[in-house]
């Protein structure tokens, strides 16, 4: 009975002390202004990454268009060459 009672009191004191240390700020913490700066930096990074993703999509679409147009040009050139042969020019 005595051991249990001592142990309980010891544990209570130790936990209280730990909680007080954590809540009262024994280590250095960033200020509210600094936290706001961090949020701004994160937001700017996300915005830049979104813009990058958009540009990548646009580039891929343009590459597909260039491919299609080059195929179309090839077809026109083949037809022109055939006409030259047929008409003897």
């Amino acid at each position: 009975m005595m051991r249990v009672s001592h142990f309980s009191r010891f544990m209570m004191a130790a936990c209280f002390a730990a909680a007080m240390c954590t809540m009262s700020g024994c280590t250095k913490k960033p200020s509210e202004e600094e936290m706001a700066k961090l949020e701004e930096a994160k937001s700017a990074a996300e915005s830049a990454e979104r813009k990058l993703a958009e540009l990548r999509r646009e580039r891929m679409e343009l590459e597909a268009q260039v491919q299609a147009k080059e195929a179309e040009l090839g077809s026109h050139e083949a037809e022109r060459d055939e006409l030259k042969q047929k008409m003897g020019r």
Binding site: M12, M23, K29, P30, A48, L52, V66, E77
Partner: protein, 237 residues
């Protein structure tokens, strides 16, 4: 009672300390997070600049290819001695023919049989198109081919009996509307000859008028009494 209270307080203190540790950032953690975010932004902006350069280059390439396509198309027109307007006119004619064929396709076989002259006119228009230089262009040539296939499909919808008859030269016998009408594969009834005459009046009258002009003493006085070998007659159903 005291023991229980103590244990509860202990558990509460542990929970609070864990919670507090989780929500609060140390300064070191803050600096790392800030550096990380700034690095991400910097890297993204560098890649943005690269992507923008590639996009600009692709747009220039597209403009260049469009210019080359226009140039090659003009070369084709020059080879054939025609203009863009000729192509547009041909495409309009093709669209018009297609529309007429589609209308005829909506008719029953017997109704279609009565429109043989329309089918022949369509075939004549297609033949005229094929004689133009514009028909050498691949896209026009392919569209004309489609029209010809449509006409074949249309003709396959006609009833089984022949819709046309070519006047023959039969030794010892003269082909005439009465006899033609009598054939089993035509009407099987000679008294139906006026239907053939009505359907082919212009051809028969034209032939008769030429005969009258060339003959000093014409033997026949009525156009329907005289048809000539080689004349192609529509047989209305």
């Amino acid at each position: 009672m005291m023991k229980r209270t103590g244990i509860c307080l202990m558990l509460l203190a542990i929970s609070l300390s864990v919670f507090a540790a989780k929500t609060e950032m140390t300064y070191e953690e803050y600096e790392l997070a800030l550096a990380g975010a700034q690095e991400r932004e910097k890297s993204a902006k560098q890649q943005i600049a690269q992507e923008q350069a590639k996009i600009e280059s692709l747009k220039q390439r597209l403009l260049e290819i469009d210019r080359l396509i226009a140039q090659v198309i003009q070369e084709k027109y020059d080879i054939l001695g025609m203009t863009e307007q000729d192509v547009i006119a041909a495409e309009n004619e093709i669209a018009s023919i297609r529309q007429e064929i589609e209308l005829l396709m909506g008719l029953s076989p017997d109704e279609l049989a009565k429109r043989m002259s329309d089918i022949k006119k369509i075939e004549a228009r297609i033949a005229a198109l094929k004689r133009t230089p514009v028909s050498y262009l691949w896209r026009i040539r392919d569209q004309i081919r489609d029209l010809e296939q449509m006409v074949e499909r249309l003709k396959s919808m006609l009833p089984d009996k022949p819709m046309g008859y070519t006047v023959r030269e039969i030794p010892g016998r003269r082909d005439c509307l009465w006899r033609i009408s009598e054939y089993d594969f035509i009407y099987g009834d000679p008294t139906q000859w006026p239907r053939i005459y009505s359907a082919n009046k212009s051809i028969i009258d034209k032939g008769f008028n030429r005969y009258v002009q060339r003959s000093a003493e014409p033997k026949y006085s009525r156009p329907e009494d005289l048809i000539f070998p080689g004349q192609e007659l529509d047989i209305p159903r």
